[in-house]
Symmetry: C2
Subunit: 364 residues, 2 copies
């Protein structure tokens, strides 16, 4: 049922893409990034190209390894199992490419570009970039359903791994348990390599798990997510192991309030940059302005980082139907860090978090 | 100690790259693929570009996230923490780029190419491809040491997970245990998503693990590897769960003999294609010619798939010092599959397998 819904939605998306191409004066478009292809067709193979041709037909190209899978995963779209190189197949005359053919400038290599030019030379190639963002940003109910399942699954794993923190346990141990838990509960996998960062490591927003054992009196940042049916989740909690100082508690309280402020302040139509500023100003007013060195959040969907970006350099407004993270942090180099992150969905009345996991400070 | 060895080796490699550039009439080269950069410098961050400049200096570019890590991981190489876009930095005049600048055609996007052309337009850009293969293919003793450790670690995990096979256990369960085991024993992670394929799934060489429980009387293909200190391993064993048929045993025996034949026949200097043919002919003579649909093997190093390729379309000879897999298989669609794979290192007297794990049929 949900599958039928999603197939119908994908078909309506492809119709929108054709309309956008036409109003941009482009005859055809070759899509070369896999997440966008999965979003538009459901196909999850490791080789795929998607052509929006001039006669309003969309054609999915893949290779012999995926003959069966492409049939199982897609619906209502023509598929071609490539026997030749893609450029050769495109030059066969079977596809209406027109004079102006668009390519994704960020997802085609110079080598591919040269091959296409050679085989399809007598036309103009137009670079497009962020072409799909406006559509990918707004989530359909069937997409939201998958993200909610990913969140729920990952929250169970978070609960389980917090219970494993103790003396002698390392960051790598916990990261391995997270990956294992996601897979065991049925996720396709992690949506990114889990971050487990205790003590001073927590002050590095992108710390890699190390063989360091957790030390009593430290805060531990756990940032994790999984993929369910092609859609990602992302969440962060910071927990205390042993007795932590008043300063650590105080910083935790500030980040928690900042994060709640972000959720409460988010409104459809506001500039993404203004939401970032509101939270950033709050943290600065609390005396930690220098200690929040990254953006407030990012969209989540078929990719764990996608539009919209919510940061100081964001342009554009937050739109109803978008799903993005709100994840302020305070990082004190050489000492400790705190980050709290939920995904939210933006409705007419504001933001609703997808996560339900407690944000009270857990003390182990 | 091993680190010093590897740093010295990397420095000698960079000198070779400069010599090759010079004899190819190229003034400079921008390296944009991360595995090659790690191999040449030791740096493992997620953003890196490496310039071989015209005055024979190599410069590694990364961003502020990796300020500390780049110092820790590299030795004897200039590093720049980028504040501007790379193209802008390159155009600053600080770097001798010369008139002919080489770029990796397969590892630079059309977008990056356009930026570079715009900022550095008054020169010729030359596409290079497979430029590093001849060097990467031959392994230094310190590289081999890392691969041996990766193999040893992954063999312990294989032994443990074979012990977990039983009624009610699924392919996904076992795959999750493999990933978990690799991490717990100290690997950086899997070198690729483990393949665990029971029964008819085993007939698909690239099967994804499913929630299917293992069925008595089936063969289970387990293909796995991990990364230790930047170097990959890769191995496959096929085991029997419950009583299997005479035909299954017979196919196992043929694959095992074919694999041993591949190890025995491999000689430095022979055409890679001839080694593939020797094994392929053996399988064909046994009556399963149609059932071995992929190449015999591939090189392994900082990437789990790299030069040399050993298949029907390979050009060039197997060289002393190369490390590659020998992995024949027989796949009977809808029924079962068998694959056996070791990595070998090619010495003056032939091939020596890195794996020691038994190739007798394990019956559970």
């Amino acid at each position: 049922m949900a599958h039928d819904l999603l197939h119908a939605y994908r078909s309506s998306l492809r119709a929108k893409i054709f309309r956008k191409l036409s109003s941009a004066g482009l005859d055809s478009l070759l899509v070369t990034d896999l997440p966008t292809i999965r979003w538009l067709t459901g196909f999850s193979g490791s080789y795929a190209k998607l052509l929006f041709a001039g006669d309003a037909t969309a054609v999915l190209f893949t290779d012999f390894r995926y003959q069966e899978q492409v049939r199982r995963e897609t619906s209502g779209i023509a598929t071609v199992i490539l026997k030749d190189a893609l450029a050769t197949e495109l030059a066969s005359g079977s596809f209406r490419l027109g004079d102006k053919m668009a390519l994704q400038a960020d997802h085609v290599t110079w080598h591919e570009m040269r091959q296409l030019s050679e085989k399809l030379g007598n036309r103009e190639f137009s670079p497009v970039s962020s072409f799909f963002d406006e559509f990918r940003e707004i989530k359909h109910v069937a997409e939201l359903d998958r993200m909610r399942r990913a969140v729920e699954l990952s929250e169970s794993v978070l609960e389980a791994v917090i219970g494993m923190i103790g003396p002698g346990v390392t960051e790598i141990d916990l990261a391995a348990e997270i990956t294992y838990g996601h897979r065991k509960l049925g996720a396709e996998g992690d949506s990114f390599e889990p971050i487990v960062a205790g003590g001073a490591h927590g002050a590095m927003p992108h710390a890699k798990p190390t063989a360091a054992e957790f030390e009593p009196g430290s805060l531990i940042v756990i940032d994790m997510g999984c993929v369910v049916d092609g859609y990602a989740s992302d969440q962060t909690r910071t927990v205390a192991f042993g007795k932590v100082s008043d300063e650590q508690r105080q910083v935790y309280r500030i980040v928690r309030e900042a994060q709640q402020l972000g959720i409460d302040a988010a409104k459809a139509g506001m500039a993404a940059r203004d939401l970032d500023a509101e939270v950033r100003n709050f943290i600065a007013a609390a005396g930690y302005g220098e200690a929040f060195g990254h953006g407030l959040g990012h969209g989540v969907g078929v990719e764990v980082h996608e539009a919209p970006r919510v940061g100081t350099a964001s342009v554009g407004a937050l739109r109803e139907g978008a799903v993005f993270t709100i994840e302020p942090g305070i990082y004190l180099p050489g000492r400790f860090g705190v980050r709290i992150e939920d995904m939210v969905t933006l409705g007419p009345d504001g933001a609703e978090p997808l996560q339900r996991f407690t944000k009270d400070l857990i003390e182990l």
